[in-house]
Protein backbone atom coordinates (compact mmCIF):
# COMPACT_ATOMS: atom_id res chain seq x y z
CA UNK A 1 0.00 0.00 0.00
CA UNK A 2 1.34 3.42 -0.80
CA UNK A 3 1.54 6.34 1.57
CA UNK A 4 -1.28 8.03 -0.27
CA UNK A 5 -3.82 5.36 0.48
CA UNK A 6 -3.10 5.59 4.17
CA UNK A 7 -3.82 9.32 4.02
CA UNK A 8 -7.33 8.52 2.78
CA UNK A 9 -7.76 5.95 5.53
CA UNK A 10 -6.73 8.57 8.08
CA UNK A 11 -9.35 10.96 6.71
CA UNK A 12 -12.03 8.31 7.18
CA UNK A 13 -10.76 7.67 10.71
CA UNK A 14 -10.89 11.37 11.54
CA UNK A 15 -14.46 11.61 10.25
CA UNK A 16 -15.44 8.59 12.33
CA UNK A 17 -13.92 10.17 15.45
CA UNK A 18 -15.93 13.34 14.91
CA UNK A 19 -19.11 11.32 14.36
CA UNK A 20 -18.29 9.33 17.45
CA UNK A 21 -18.33 12.48 19.59
CA UNK A 22 -21.35 13.85 17.77
CA UNK A 23 -23.39 10.75 18.61
CA UNK A 24 -22.62 11.23 22.26
CA UNK A 25 -25.19 14.04 22.27
CA UNK A 26 -27.92 11.65 23.35
CA UNK A 27 -27.97 8.36 25.26
CA UNK A 28 -30.01 6.89 22.39
CA UNK A 29 -27.19 7.20 19.86
CA UNK A 30 -24.19 7.10 22.18
CA UNK A 31 -23.37 3.42 21.77
CA UNK A 32 -23.26 3.92 18.03
CA UNK A 33 -20.72 6.62 18.78
CA UNK A 34 -18.48 4.18 20.60
CA UNK A 35 -18.73 1.81 17.65
CA UNK A 36 -17.75 4.56 15.23
CA UNK A 37 -14.76 5.37 17.40
CA UNK A 38 -13.67 1.74 17.47
CA UNK A 39 -13.89 1.39 13.71
CA UNK A 40 -11.98 4.64 13.28
CA UNK A 41 -9.24 3.36 15.56
CA UNK A 42 -9.11 0.00 13.79
CA UNK A 43 -8.73 1.73 10.42
CA UNK A 44 -6.00 3.99 11.71
CA UNK A 45 -3.96 1.18 13.25
CA UNK A 46 -4.27 -1.29 10.38
CA UNK A 47 -3.65 1.50 7.88
CA UNK A 48 -0.47 2.48 9.69
CA UNK A 49 0.78 -1.09 9.92
CA UNK A 50 0.01 -1.77 6.28
CA UNK A 51 1.29 1.43 4.74
CA UNK A 52 4.64 1.80 6.43
CA UNK A 53 7.37 -0.68 6.24
CA UNK A 54 7.24 -1.65 9.89
CA UNK A 55 10.09 -3.51 11.57
CA UNK A 56 10.39 -4.99 15.04
CA UNK A 57 7.06 -6.75 14.85
CA UNK A 58 7.74 -8.83 17.93
CA UNK A 59 7.99 -5.66 20.03
CA UNK A 60 4.82 -4.18 18.60
CA UNK A 61 2.80 -7.36 18.93
CA UNK A 62 4.00 -7.94 22.49
CA UNK A 63 2.99 -4.39 23.43
CA UNK A 64 -0.45 -4.86 21.84
CA UNK A 65 -0.86 -8.09 23.70
CA UNK A 66 0.11 -6.67 27.09
CA UNK A 67 -1.96 -3.53 26.55
CA UNK A 68 -5.05 -5.58 25.73
CA UNK A 69 -4.41 -7.99 28.60
CA UNK A 70 -4.33 -5.03 30.99
CA UNK A 71 -7.12 -3.06 29.34
CA UNK A 72 -9.84 -5.69 29.16
CA UNK A 73 -9.91 -6.54 32.89
CA UNK A 74 -9.77 -2.83 33.75
CA UNK A 75 -12.86 -2.21 31.63
CA UNK A 76 -14.90 -5.09 33.00
CA UNK A 77 -13.80 -5.50 36.61
CA UNK A 78 -13.47 -1.86 37.64
CA UNK A 79 -16.45 -0.95 39.86
CA UNK A 80 -18.34 2.12 38.70
CA UNK A 81 -17.44 3.93 41.92
CA UNK A 82 -13.79 3.74 40.84
CA UNK A 83 -14.37 5.39 37.48
CA UNK A 84 -12.71 8.70 38.45
CA UNK A 85 -9.51 6.85 39.39
CA UNK A 86 -9.56 4.90 36.16
CA UNK A 87 -10.04 8.06 34.19
CA UNK A 88 -7.08 9.69 35.92
CA UNK A 89 -5.04 6.59 35.21
CA UNK A 90 -5.87 6.62 31.54
CA UNK A 91 -4.92 10.29 31.33
CA UNK A 92 -1.59 9.23 32.82
CA UNK A 93 -1.19 6.42 30.27
CA UNK A 94 -2.09 8.62 27.31
CA UNK A 95 0.25 11.38 28.42
CA UNK A 96 3.06 8.89 29.07
CA UNK A 97 2.71 7.44 25.58
CA UNK A 98 2.98 10.90 24.02
CA UNK A 99 5.93 11.90 26.20
CA UNK A 100 7.87 8.71 25.48
CA UNK A 101 7.31 8.91 21.75
CA UNK A 102 8.60 12.48 21.86
CA UNK A 103 11.62 11.39 23.89
CA UNK A 104 12.42 8.52 21.53
CA UNK A 105 12.08 10.77 18.54
CA UNK A 106 14.38 13.37 20.02
CA UNK A 107 17.12 10.88 20.83
CA UNK A 108 16.83 9.31 17.42
CA UNK A 109 17.44 12.64 15.76
CA UNK A 110 20.45 13.26 18.01
CA UNK A 111 21.88 9.83 17.30
CA UNK A 112 21.43 10.07 13.56
CA UNK A 113 22.82 13.63 13.55
CA UNK A 114 19.76 14.81 11.68
CA UNK A 115 18.61 17.79 13.70
CA UNK A 116 14.87 18.36 13.58
CA UNK A 117 13.46 21.49 12.01
CA UNK A 118 12.65 24.26 14.45
CA UNK A 119 8.90 23.79 14.25
CA UNK A 120 9.30 20.06 14.80
CA UNK A 121 11.39 20.83 17.87
CA UNK A 122 8.75 23.24 19.13
CA UNK A 123 6.10 20.55 18.74
CA UNK A 124 8.33 17.98 20.37
CA UNK A 125 9.10 20.19 23.36
CA UNK A 126 5.40 20.98 23.86
CA UNK A 127 4.56 17.29 23.50
CA UNK A 128 7.08 16.10 26.07
CA UNK A 129 6.48 18.98 28.49
CA UNK A 130 2.71 18.47 28.54
CA UNK A 131 3.09 14.71 28.37
CA UNK A 132 5.41 14.37 31.34
CA UNK A 133 3.63 16.86 33.57
CA UNK A 134 0.25 15.35 32.78
CA UNK A 135 1.66 11.90 33.49
CA UNK A 136 2.77 12.63 37.05
CA UNK A 137 -0.11 15.06 37.63
CA UNK A 138 -2.64 12.37 36.70
CA UNK A 139 -0.87 9.83 38.88
CA UNK A 140 -1.17 12.24 41.80
CA UNK A 141 -4.84 12.81 41.02
CA UNK A 142 -5.35 9.06 40.87
CA UNK A 143 -3.60 8.62 44.22
CA UNK A 144 -5.83 11.24 45.78
CA UNK A 145 -9.00 9.73 44.32
CA UNK A 146 -7.98 6.26 45.48
CA UNK A 147 -7.10 7.83 48.83
CA UNK A 148 -3.59 6.40 48.76
CA UNK A 149 -2.59 10.03 49.08
CA UNK A 150 -4.36 12.48 51.36
CA UNK A 151 -7.15 14.06 49.37
CA UNK A 152 -6.92 17.24 51.43
CA UNK A 153 -4.86 19.93 49.74
CA UNK A 154 -1.21 19.93 50.79
CA UNK A 155 0.07 23.44 50.95
CA UNK A 156 3.18 25.19 52.15
CA UNK A 157 4.51 28.71 52.10
CA UNK A 158 5.71 30.03 48.77
CA UNK A 159 4.11 27.12 46.94
CA UNK A 160 2.94 29.10 43.95
CA UNK A 161 6.28 30.87 43.69
CA UNK A 162 8.19 27.58 43.69
CA UNK A 163 5.84 26.07 41.12
CA UNK A 164 6.10 29.12 38.92
CA UNK A 165 9.89 29.17 39.14
CA UNK A 166 10.05 25.49 38.30
CA UNK A 167 7.81 25.95 35.31
CA UNK A 168 9.80 28.93 34.05
CA UNK A 169 13.04 26.94 34.31
CA UNK A 170 11.50 23.96 32.50
CA UNK A 171 10.12 26.22 29.79
CA UNK A 172 13.49 27.98 29.52
CA UNK A 173 15.29 24.68 29.04
CA UNK A 174 12.67 23.74 26.47
CA UNK A 175 13.39 26.91 24.52
CA UNK A 176 17.11 26.23 24.75
CA UNK A 177 16.48 22.76 23.31
CA UNK A 178 14.53 24.27 20.46
CA UNK A 179 17.37 26.67 19.67
CA UNK A 180 20.19 24.15 20.10
CA UNK A 181 18.68 20.70 19.55
CA UNK A 182 22.10 19.01 19.67
CA UNK A 183 22.54 19.77 23.40
CA UNK A 184 21.24 16.40 24.47
CA UNK A 185 22.31 16.78 28.10
CA UNK A 186 19.54 19.30 28.63
CA UNK A 187 16.79 16.84 27.75
CA UNK A 188 16.83 14.66 30.89
CA UNK A 189 16.82 17.75 33.12
CA UNK A 190 13.96 19.21 31.11
CA UNK A 191 11.99 15.96 31.37
CA UNK A 192 12.73 15.64 35.08
CA UNK A 193 11.50 19.16 35.78
CA UNK A 194 8.32 18.52 33.82
CA UNK A 195 7.69 15.36 35.85
CA UNK A 196 8.32 17.21 39.12
CA UNK A 197 6.11 20.11 38.07
CA UNK A 198 3.22 17.71 37.43
CA UNK A 199 3.49 16.41 40.99
CA UNK A 200 3.69 19.85 42.58
CA UNK A 201 0.84 21.19 40.47
CA UNK A 202 -1.66 18.61 41.74
CA UNK A 203 -0.49 18.22 45.36
CA UNK A 204 -2.25 21.39 46.57
CA UNK A 205 -5.54 20.51 44.90
CA UNK A 206 -8.32 19.11 47.07
CA UNK A 207 -10.86 16.41 46.31
CA UNK A 208 -13.71 18.84 45.72
CA UNK A 209 -11.78 20.38 42.82
CA UNK A 210 -11.09 17.03 41.20
CA UNK A 211 -13.84 17.33 38.56
CA UNK A 212 -12.17 20.43 37.14
CA UNK A 213 -8.66 19.05 37.45
CA UNK A 214 -9.52 15.75 35.78
CA UNK A 215 -11.11 17.64 32.91
CA UNK A 216 -8.06 19.87 32.63
CA UNK A 217 -5.66 16.91 32.61
CA UNK A 218 -7.86 15.37 29.93
CA UNK A 219 -7.32 18.47 27.87
CA UNK A 220 -3.52 18.41 28.40
CA UNK A 221 -3.27 14.75 27.43
CA UNK A 222 -5.15 15.55 24.23
CA UNK A 223 -2.95 18.53 23.45
CA UNK A 224 0.22 16.50 23.91
CA UNK A 225 -1.09 13.93 21.41
CA UNK A 226 -1.89 16.86 19.15
CA UNK A 227 1.68 18.20 19.47
CA UNK A 228 2.89 14.73 18.55
CA UNK A 229 0.87 15.07 15.38
CA UNK A 230 2.81 18.23 14.53
CA UNK A 231 6.15 16.61 15.36
CA UNK A 232 5.40 13.58 13.18
CA UNK A 233 3.48 15.55 10.59
CA UNK A 234 0.45 13.33 11.02
CA UNK A 235 -2.89 15.12 10.58
CA UNK A 236 -4.94 12.35 12.17
CA UNK A 237 -3.02 12.79 15.42
CA UNK A 238 -3.57 16.53 15.22
CA UNK A 239 -7.31 16.09 14.76
CA UNK A 240 -7.82 13.42 17.42
CA UNK A 241 -5.66 15.35 19.88
CA UNK A 242 -7.54 18.58 19.18
CA UNK A 243 -10.88 16.83 19.72
CA UNK A 244 -9.70 15.49 23.06
CA UNK A 245 -8.16 18.82 24.00
CA UNK A 246 -11.32 20.78 23.24
CA UNK A 247 -13.50 18.24 25.01
CA UNK A 248 -11.41 18.51 28.17
CA UNK A 249 -11.47 22.29 27.87
CA UNK A 250 -15.26 22.46 27.63
CA UNK A 251 -15.71 20.11 30.56
CA UNK A 252 -13.35 22.11 32.72
CA UNK A 253 -15.11 25.35 31.81
CA UNK A 254 -18.45 23.79 32.77
CA UNK A 255 -16.96 22.59 36.07
CA UNK A 256 -15.44 25.98 36.82
CA UNK A 257 -18.74 27.74 36.13
CA UNK A 258 -20.54 25.26 38.37
CA UNK A 259 -18.25 26.31 41.19
CA UNK A 260 -18.15 29.98 40.28
CA UNK A 261 -14.37 29.85 40.12
CA UNK A 262 -11.70 30.56 37.55
CA UNK A 263 -9.02 28.23 36.21
CA UNK A 264 -6.27 30.04 38.03
CA UNK A 265 -8.25 29.86 41.21
CA UNK A 266 -8.65 26.10 40.93
CA UNK A 267 -5.00 25.56 40.08
CA UNK A 268 -3.45 28.03 42.48
CA UNK A 269 -6.18 28.68 45.01
CA UNK A 270 -5.89 25.63 47.32
CA UNK A 271 -9.54 25.61 48.23
CA UNK A 272 -9.67 23.32 51.21
CA UNK A 273 -7.72 25.07 53.88
CA UNK A 274 -10.26 27.70 54.70
CA UNK A 275 -10.09 28.21 58.42
CA UNK A 276 -13.26 27.01 60.07
CA UNK A 277 -14.05 30.62 60.86
CA UNK A 278 -17.32 30.02 62.62
CA UNK A 279 -16.29 27.38 65.08
CA UNK A 280 -19.03 28.51 67.44
CA UNK A 281 -21.88 27.40 65.20
CA UNK A 282 -20.94 23.79 65.80
CA UNK A 283 -22.70 23.99 69.14
CA UNK A 284 -26.11 24.79 67.67
CA UNK A 285 -28.80 22.14 68.04
CA UNK A 286 -29.96 20.06 65.12
CA UNK A 287 -32.99 17.83 64.84
CA UNK A 288 -32.23 14.24 64.11
CA UNK A 289 -34.59 11.42 63.22
CA UNK A 290 -34.65 7.65 62.99
CA UNK A 291 -35.14 5.54 59.88
CA UNK A 292 -38.68 4.81 60.98
CA UNK A 293 -39.58 8.49 61.19
CA UNK A 294 -37.87 9.16 57.88
CA UNK A 295 -39.84 6.34 56.27
CA UNK A 296 -43.15 7.67 57.49
CA UNK A 297 -42.35 11.17 56.23
CA UNK A 298 -41.38 9.80 52.82
CA UNK A 299 -44.52 7.70 52.71
CA UNK A 300 -46.69 10.74 53.29
CA UNK A 301 -44.97 12.78 50.58
CA UNK A 302 -46.17 13.09 47.04
CA UNK A 303 -42.98 14.49 45.53
CA UNK A 304 -39.44 13.63 46.61
CA UNK A 305 -36.19 14.99 45.21
CA UNK A 306 -33.06 13.05 46.01
CA UNK A 307 -29.80 15.02 46.03
CA UNK A 308 -26.84 12.66 45.64
CA UNK A 309 -23.21 13.59 46.28
CA UNK A 310 -19.80 12.08 46.67
CA UNK A 311 -20.85 10.41 49.93
CA UNK A 312 -23.15 8.20 47.88
CA UNK A 313 -20.19 6.95 45.87
CA UNK A 314 -18.11 6.38 48.99
CA UNK A 315 -20.87 4.39 50.68
CA UNK A 316 -21.73 2.60 47.39
CA UNK A 317 -25.35 3.35 48.20
CA UNK A 318 -26.66 3.51 44.62
CA UNK A 319 -28.35 0.09 44.62
CA UNK A 320 -30.09 0.70 47.94
CA UNK A 321 -31.28 4.03 46.60
CA UNK A 322 -32.71 2.21 43.64
CA UNK A 323 -34.72 0.04 46.07
CA UNK A 324 -35.98 3.14 47.82
CA UNK A 325 -36.82 4.71 44.45
CA UNK A 326 -38.76 1.60 43.34
CA UNK A 327 -40.63 1.41 46.60
CA UNK A 328 -41.67 5.06 46.55
CA UNK A 329 -42.57 5.05 42.85
CA UNK A 330 -44.82 2.04 43.45
CA UNK A 331 -46.71 4.11 45.98
CA UNK A 332 -47.29 6.75 43.34
CA UNK A 333 -44.74 9.11 44.84
CA UNK A 334 -42.86 11.15 42.26
CA UNK A 335 -39.12 10.70 42.79
CA UNK A 336 -36.49 12.71 40.94
CA UNK A 337 -32.77 13.14 41.31
CA UNK A 338 -31.16 16.56 41.33
CA UNK A 339 -27.68 16.45 39.78
CA UNK A 340 -25.27 19.26 40.52
CA UNK A 341 -22.57 19.51 37.83
CA UNK A 342 -19.74 19.08 40.33
CA UNK A 343 -21.38 16.44 42.52
CA UNK A 344 -18.86 13.64 42.88
CA UNK A 345 -15.29 13.54 41.73
CA UNK A 346 -15.58 13.88 37.97
CA UNK A 347 -18.00 15.35 35.44
CA UNK A 348 -21.12 13.18 35.21
CA UNK A 349 -20.05 10.93 38.09
CA UNK A 350 -23.50 10.75 39.75
CA UNK A 351 -25.30 10.01 36.49
CA UNK A 352 -23.15 6.96 35.87
CA UNK A 353 -23.62 5.60 39.39
CA UNK A 354 -27.39 6.02 39.31
CA UNK A 355 -27.57 4.57 35.81
CA UNK A 356 -25.60 1.60 37.09
CA UNK A 357 -28.34 1.05 39.64
CA UNK A 358 -30.88 1.01 36.79
CA UNK A 359 -32.48 4.33 37.59
CA UNK A 360 -33.90 5.61 34.30
CA UNK A 361 -31.96 8.62 33.07
CA UNK A 362 -35.01 10.80 32.50
CA UNK A 363 -35.30 10.88 36.32
CA UNK A 364 -31.90 12.55 36.60
CA UNK A 365 -32.46 16.28 36.36
CA UNK A 366 -29.85 18.98 35.97
CA UNK A 367 -29.52 21.78 38.46
CA UNK A 368 -30.96 24.57 36.31
CA UNK A 369 -34.06 22.59 35.51
CA UNK A 370 -34.85 21.26 38.94
CA UNK A 371 -34.13 24.25 41.11
CA UNK A 372 -37.57 25.75 40.59
CA UNK A 373 -39.17 22.47 41.70
CA UNK A 374 -37.74 22.39 45.21
CA UNK A 375 -40.29 24.89 46.49
CA UNK A 376 -43.12 22.54 45.52
CA UNK A 377 -41.48 19.37 46.70
CA UNK A 378 -42.45 17.68 49.93
CA UNK A 379 -39.15 16.08 50.79
CA UNK A 380 -35.61 16.77 49.65
CA UNK A 381 -33.42 13.84 50.61
CA UNK A 382 -29.75 14.78 50.61
CA UNK A 383 -27.42 11.79 50.45
CA UNK A 384 -23.73 12.46 50.80
CA UNK A 385 -23.84 15.94 49.31
CA UNK A 386 -22.82 18.98 51.28
CA UNK A 387 -21.30 22.09 49.76
CA UNK A 388 -23.57 22.00 46.69
CA UNK A 389 -26.57 22.43 49.00
CA UNK A 390 -25.16 25.12 51.27
CA UNK A 391 -27.41 28.21 51.25
CA UNK A 392 -24.42 30.29 52.38
CA UNK A 393 -23.37 30.27 48.72
CA UNK A 394 -26.39 32.49 48.01
CA UNK A 395 -26.42 34.77 51.01
CA UNK A 396 -23.15 34.88 52.93
CA UNK A 397 -20.67 37.09 51.13
CA UNK A 398 -17.94 36.10 53.55
CA UNK A 399 -18.32 32.41 52.75
CA UNK A 400 -15.59 30.92 50.57
CA UNK A 401 -18.24 29.32 48.38
CA UNK A 402 -20.25 32.53 47.98
CA UNK A 403 -21.55 32.84 44.43
CA UNK A 404 -21.36 29.15 43.65
CA UNK A 405 -24.59 27.96 42.04
CA UNK A 406 -26.30 25.54 44.42
CA UNK A 407 -29.30 23.26 44.52
CA UNK A 408 -32.09 25.08 46.34
CA UNK A 409 -32.64 22.23 48.74
CA UNK A 410 -33.53 24.57 51.61
CA UNK A 411 -36.75 25.57 49.84
CA UNK A 412 -38.26 22.11 50.14
CA UNK A 413 -41.02 21.60 52.73
CA UNK A 414 -38.96 19.02 54.58
CA UNK A 415 -35.25 18.44 54.18
CA UNK A 416 -33.65 15.19 55.25
CA UNK A 417 -29.90 14.83 55.24
CA UNK A 418 -28.15 11.48 55.52
CA UNK A 419 -24.72 12.16 56.91
CA UNK A 420 -22.15 10.31 58.96
CA UNK A 421 -21.67 13.04 61.55
CA UNK A 422 -21.80 16.79 61.91
CA UNK A 423 -18.24 17.20 60.62
CA UNK A 424 -18.11 19.94 57.98
CA UNK A 425 -17.91 19.10 54.29
CA UNK A 426 -14.88 18.87 52.12
CA UNK A 427 -14.28 22.56 51.95
CA UNK A 428 -14.46 22.72 55.73
CA UNK A 429 -17.45 25.05 55.61
CA UNK A 430 -20.35 24.71 57.98
CA UNK A 431 -23.71 24.20 56.28
CA UNK A 432 -26.66 26.38 57.41
CA UNK A 433 -29.01 23.84 55.94
CA UNK A 434 -28.47 21.47 58.83
CA UNK A 435 -29.74 23.91 61.44
CA UNK A 436 -33.05 24.81 59.80
CA UNK A 437 -36.30 23.91 61.55
CA UNK A 438 -37.44 21.94 58.56
CA UNK A 439 -34.29 19.88 58.41
CA UNK A 440 -33.98 16.40 59.88
CA UNK A 441 -30.53 14.91 60.20
CA UNK A 442 -30.32 11.19 59.60
CA UNK A 443 -27.00 10.13 61.07
CA UNK A 444 -25.37 7.04 59.69
CA UNK A 445 -23.77 5.35 56.74
CA UNK A 446 -25.69 6.23 53.57
CA UNK A 447 -26.12 2.67 52.38
CA UNK A 448 -27.12 1.25 55.76
CA UNK A 449 -29.51 4.09 56.45
CA UNK A 450 -31.28 3.91 53.11
CA UNK A 451 -31.59 0.14 53.59
CA UNK A 452 -33.22 0.74 56.98
CA UNK A 453 -35.67 3.24 55.50
CA UNK A 454 -36.60 0.71 52.82
CA UNK A 455 -37.09 -1.93 55.52
CA UNK A 456 -39.48 0.35 57.40
CA UNK A 457 -41.43 1.09 54.25
CA UNK A 458 -42.63 -2.18 52.72
CA UNK A 459 -45.23 -2.96 55.36
CA UNK A 460 -47.97 -1.66 53.13
CA UNK A 461 -46.16 -1.66 49.80
CA UNK A 462 -47.13 -5.17 48.79
CA UNK A 463 -50.79 -4.67 49.67
Amino acid sequence: MTGQVVDYIYIVSAALFILSLKWMNSPATARRGVFAGEIGMLFAITGTLAAHHVFNWQWILAAFFIGSAVGVPIAYIMPMTAVPQRTAMSHACGALAAALVGTAEYYRSVQLHTPLATFEMVALVVETLLGFLTFTGSLMAMGKLQEILPSRPLTYRGQNLINLTLFVIAAGLGIRLILVPADAWIFPIFAGLALLFGVLLIVPIGGADMPTVIALLNSYAGLSACAMGFALNNKLLVIAGALDGSSGLILSIIMCKAMNRSFTNVLFGAFGQIQASKAAVDQRPVRSASAEEAASILEAASTVIVVPGYGLAVAQAQHKIRELYDNLMRRGIDVKFAIHPVAGRMPGHMNVLLAEADIPYDRLVEMDEINSEFAQCDVALVIGANDVTNPAARSDTSSPIYGMPILDVDKARTVMVIKRSMSPGFAGIDNELYYMDRTLMLFGDARAFVAEIVKELPARATA
Partner: protein
Protein backbone atom coordinates in the same frame (compact mmCIF):
# COMPACT_ATOMS: atom_id res chain seq x y z
CA UNK B 1 3.49 30.09 6.41
CA UNK B 2 3.38 27.29 3.91
CA UNK B 3 3.82 23.56 3.69
CA UNK B 4 3.17 21.00 6.38
CA UNK B 5 3.25 23.37 9.32
CA UNK B 6 0.72 25.72 7.76
CA UNK B 7 -1.64 22.92 6.80
CA UNK B 8 -1.19 21.36 10.23
CA UNK B 9 -2.14 24.60 11.96
CA UNK B 10 -5.23 24.98 9.81
CA UNK B 11 -6.23 21.41 10.59
CA UNK B 12 -5.65 22.04 14.29
CA UNK B 13 -7.71 25.22 14.27
CA UNK B 14 -10.62 23.63 12.42
CA UNK B 15 -10.55 20.44 14.49
CA UNK B 16 -10.58 22.49 17.70
CA UNK B 17 -13.67 24.41 16.60
CA UNK B 18 -15.40 21.23 15.45
CA UNK B 19 -14.50 19.63 18.79
CA UNK B 20 -15.83 22.58 20.79
CA UNK B 21 -19.11 22.63 18.86
CA UNK B 22 -19.66 18.89 18.98
CA UNK B 23 -18.75 18.46 22.64
CA UNK B 24 -20.89 21.43 23.67
CA UNK B 25 -23.91 19.45 22.48
CA UNK B 26 -23.04 16.31 24.41
CA UNK B 27 -25.67 15.51 27.00
CA UNK B 28 -24.55 16.33 30.54
CA UNK B 29 -25.73 12.91 31.53
CA UNK B 30 -22.90 11.44 29.52
CA UNK B 31 -19.94 13.52 30.60
CA UNK B 32 -18.20 10.61 32.28
CA UNK B 33 -18.52 8.28 29.27
CA UNK B 34 -17.52 11.22 27.05
CA UNK B 35 -14.29 11.54 28.94
CA UNK B 36 -13.42 7.87 28.64
CA UNK B 37 -14.34 7.97 24.95
CA UNK B 38 -12.13 10.95 24.15
CA UNK B 39 -9.43 9.24 26.14
CA UNK B 40 -9.63 6.20 23.92
CA UNK B 41 -9.66 8.38 20.81
CA UNK B 42 -6.63 10.39 21.84
CA UNK B 43 -4.80 7.09 22.32
CA UNK B 44 -4.44 7.40 18.55
CA UNK B 45 -0.94 8.36 19.63
CA UNK B 46 -0.39 4.61 19.25
CA UNK B 47 0.19 5.43 15.59
CA UNK B 48 3.20 7.55 16.50
CA UNK B 49 4.41 4.89 18.90
CA UNK B 50 4.21 2.21 16.20
CA UNK B 51 6.19 4.36 13.78
CA UNK B 52 8.91 4.98 16.37
CA UNK B 53 9.17 1.36 17.47
CA UNK B 54 8.90 -0.05 13.99
CA UNK B 55 11.36 2.27 12.27
CA UNK B 56 14.18 0.61 10.40
CA UNK B 57 17.31 0.57 12.56
CA UNK B 58 15.44 1.73 15.67
CA UNK B 59 17.85 1.92 18.60
CA UNK B 60 17.33 -0.08 21.76
CA UNK B 61 16.18 3.11 23.50
CA UNK B 62 13.60 3.79 20.79
CA UNK B 63 12.34 0.24 20.98
CA UNK B 64 12.00 0.27 24.77
CA UNK B 65 10.32 3.68 24.91
CA UNK B 66 8.12 2.83 21.95
CA UNK B 67 7.19 -0.48 23.50
CA UNK B 68 6.05 1.21 26.73
CA UNK B 69 4.21 3.86 24.73
CA UNK B 70 2.33 1.28 22.64
CA UNK B 71 1.44 -0.69 25.76
CA UNK B 72 0.12 2.43 27.51
CA UNK B 73 -1.82 3.58 24.44
CA UNK B 74 -3.33 0.16 23.72
CA UNK B 75 -4.39 -0.12 27.36
CA UNK B 76 -6.23 3.18 26.89
CA UNK B 77 -7.80 2.15 23.61
CA UNK B 78 -9.05 -1.18 24.89
CA UNK B 79 -10.19 -0.13 28.34
CA UNK B 80 -11.47 3.24 27.10
CA UNK B 81 -13.81 1.91 24.42
CA UNK B 82 -14.97 -1.07 26.46
CA UNK B 83 -15.71 0.85 29.65
CA UNK B 84 -17.49 3.59 27.70
CA UNK B 85 -19.74 0.97 26.18
CA UNK B 86 -20.25 -0.66 29.55
CA UNK B 87 -21.33 2.66 31.04
CA UNK B 88 -23.60 3.54 28.13
CA UNK B 89 -25.37 0.20 28.34
CA UNK B 90 -26.52 1.21 31.81
CA UNK B 91 -28.32 4.34 30.67
CA UNK B 92 -31.93 3.29 30.17
CA UNK B 93 -34.93 5.45 29.60
CA UNK B 94 -37.74 3.62 31.40
CA UNK B 95 -37.40 0.72 33.73
CA UNK B 96 -38.76 -2.46 32.28
CA UNK B 97 -40.13 -5.28 34.41
CA UNK B 98 -37.47 -6.17 36.91
Amino acid sequence: MTGDLGVGLYVFMLATFVGLEVVRKVSRLLHTPLMSLTNAISAISVVGAILITGAQGATALSKVLGFIAITAAVTNIVSGFLITDRMLKMFKKREGPK
